[in-house]
């Protein structure tokens, strides 16, 4: 499982002299006189997993779009490998329901595929039975799986995944992160991933880039999680949490009841309580370093101006 993060992200996966797929030099984008991101510097090599983390509004999606040429830079330079084949899972995708689009048809959106390629990609993401379903009938998690399958089936040189597991249930989340890593190992593609789900993502990553309008810090997950910039960005507990970072607004009492941030006590916690994952919310308490849970500490995403 990806949860044993430190072991699986040990150095040695570093891409070394592998071919550079994309490199950003001092790249920035300005809108209405404000810099969304500025001075962004990094590169992705073949076989490398780079993860962008950062609070809301840190410019993660903007940076990813800049890297793949969807947004043009106002400053700096982006170099992409020749005839770079990209597979892109955007953060949001609103398909008008008036378009009759099955999952099978979605797969061939930007290029032809044969039936075998379609099927094996759908099998990899666990939704082969949904091939004939209309996209608009899918749940959020199923839709993410379909988008991921589509990106995989393209056999890209570079996969760009903007919060690829949003809406996926907790068990599925770990499996999909595993799948992403497996694909990297099998095809040697580069992966640029965006997440604010630190505890999961840092595990399978070679390089973490901590973003907040600019690059705050970077390095292996170990290096980043120890850096003071990271601690500033994600709150004081982040350092103690090392590669785990978990926030709750409620406490599980010994008798199974739950105390919420406002002091109220209920029989169970609710889906809208802080950072539960789908309906399998309690699974995450099987972490081996349980002691590091700081229930009630509500930092991280909210502390962008730290």
């Amino acid at each position: 499982m990806l949860m044993n993060s430190r072991a699986s992200s040990a150095p040695g996966k570093q891409a070394g002299e592998a071919e550079t797929l994309v490199s950003l030099e001092n790249a920035g984008i300005r809108r209405d006189g404000r810099w969304l991101v500025r001075g962004v510097d990094f590169s992705i090599a073949r076989g490398e997993v780079v993860t962008l983390i950062g609070p809301n509004g840190a410019g993660k999606s903007t940076t990813a779009k800049m890297a793949i040429g969807v947004l043009k830079t106002d400053e700096g330079k982006i170099t992409r490998a020749k005839s770079l084949r990209i597979g892109y899972v955007p953060q949001k995708l609103a398909i008008d329901w008036t378009m009759p689009l099955t999952v099978r048809r979605l797969m061939t959106l930007t290029g032809p595929l044969n039936e075998a390629e379609t099927t094996s990609a759908l099998e990899a993401t666990g939704i082969p039975h949904l091939a004939g379903s209309e996209v608009r009938h899918l749940s959020g998690g199923e839709f993410q799986r379909a988008l991921l399958a589509r990106a995989i089936a393209r056999k890209p040189d570079l996969m760009v995944l903007d919060e690829p597991v949003q809406g996926v249930d907790f068990a599925g989340e770990a499996a999909l992160y595993d799948l992403i890593r497996t694909i990297r190992n099998a095809t040697g593609c580069g992966i640029l991933m965006i997440s604010h789900d630190l505890h999961m993502v840092m595990a399978g990553t070679d390089t973490v880039i901590c973003l907040n309008g600019h690059v705050c810090c970077r390095g292996t997950p170990e290096v980043v999680s120890q850096s003071s910039d990271y601690a500033k960005l994600f709150g004081g507990n982040a350092r103690a949490l090392a590669v785990y970072n978990h926030h709750h607004d409620h406490t599980h009492l010994p008798d199974g009841r739950v105390r919420h941030a406002d002091g109220s006590i209920t029989e169970h916690c609710h889906p809208d309580d802080g950072h539960h994952h789908g309906d399998q919310g309690h699974d995450h308490h099987r972490h081996d370093d349980h002691a590091h849970h700081h229930h009630g500490a509500h930092e991280g995403e909210g502390s962008r101006h730290a």
């Binding site: 040429g69 955007p90 008008d96 008036t98 378009m99 930007t110 290029g111 039975h129 393209r154």
Partner: protein, 275 residues
């Protein structure tokens, strides 16, 4: 056979409907109904300018439609007003300016009703050649651009990231819209062109399992509406455009009746199957 004005109208109308079907699907999918309306309304300005400068009607209408859509895109980029408000301003201003200009030109006699609502009597063999020639160009372009058009309708970002050029696709789409408006004007009239684009496409939605089938069905349903509407127009001496739109509306209402519409696309979702 082409001597008969009614046969001419049928051939011309079916040509327009077959062309409008696939394009209408994109108008629906991209939520551009009002945009299409704006382009169509600007056609009257094109008519007025064509009379004033004595240039070809088709070229003038096409040019003005392209100009208005370009203006709209530029104004949208400045983001001073919502797209909705901008469309409202441009749509009705273009129509009003067209009407005012026509009124000024007292030396030309112009059948305004024919331009606004279509006129089956006005269809000449030359019009038929134009409609089928222009229509063939439009359909060929849509087939050629099909994958990028569908992809950028679903997501411009994905299309762009994966090596397509959505900006260029959009430009082609605008040009095709302008061309269809120019050739459809005589049959359905300026006020009702968008209806011929949207209603058959919306009707086809119920029966279609893929974007491709929806485009084909929209063409066929549009053609049926043209035939029905023109017969009605002949029988009851009503203007051709409104009669065609009423026929299309009847098909749409029929498609809403559950017994007709139950197809693959309406199958209950495969929800909850996954473990």
């Amino acid at each position: 056979m082409l001597d008969d004005f009614f046969i001419r109208a049928l051939i011309a109308g079916v040509g327009v409907a077959l062309t409008a079907g696939p394009l209408g699907c994109f108008v629906v999918w991209r939520r551009m109904a009002y945009f299409g309306d704006t382009m169509a309304h600007s056609a009257l300005l094109g008519v007025a300018l064509s009379l004033f400068f004595e240039v070809n009607l088709l070229i003038s209408v096409f040019g003005v439609a392209v100009l208005v859509s370009a203006m709209l895109l530029l104004l949208q980029r400045r983001q001073s007003l919502s797209a909705d408000a901008l469309l409202g301003i441009l749509s009705h201003s273009a129509l009003a300016i067209g009407l005012v200009l026509v009124a000024f030109m007292t030396w030309v006699r112009i059948d305004l009703i024919a331009f606004l609502f279509g006129d089956i009597l006005a269809v000449t063999p030359a019009d038929i050649a134009l409609i089928w020639g222009g229509g063939a160009v439009v359909v060929a372009a849509i087939v050629w651009l099909w994958r990028p058009l569908v992809a950028s309708t679903v997501s411009e970002d994905v299309a762009e990231a994966e090596g397509m050029n959505p900006a260029r696709t959009k430009l082609f789409f605008m040009l095709l819209m302008a061309l269809v408006i120019a050739i459809a004007m005589k049959i359905v009239g300026i006020m009702l062109i968008t209806a011929l684009l949207i209603i058959p496409a919306a009707t086809a939605r119920r029966f279609s399992a893929s974007p491709e089938w929806m485009a084909v069905f929209a063409s066929l349903i549009g053609a049926a509406a043209v035939i029905g509407g023109l017969f009605g127009s002949l029988t009851y001496d009503t203007p051709s455009g409104p009669s065609i739109v009423v026929a299309a509306l009847l098909f749409f209402i029929l498609s809403l009746v559950p017994a007709f519409g139950r197809t693959t696309s309406e199958r209950p979702a495969n929800k909850g199957v996954r473990g």
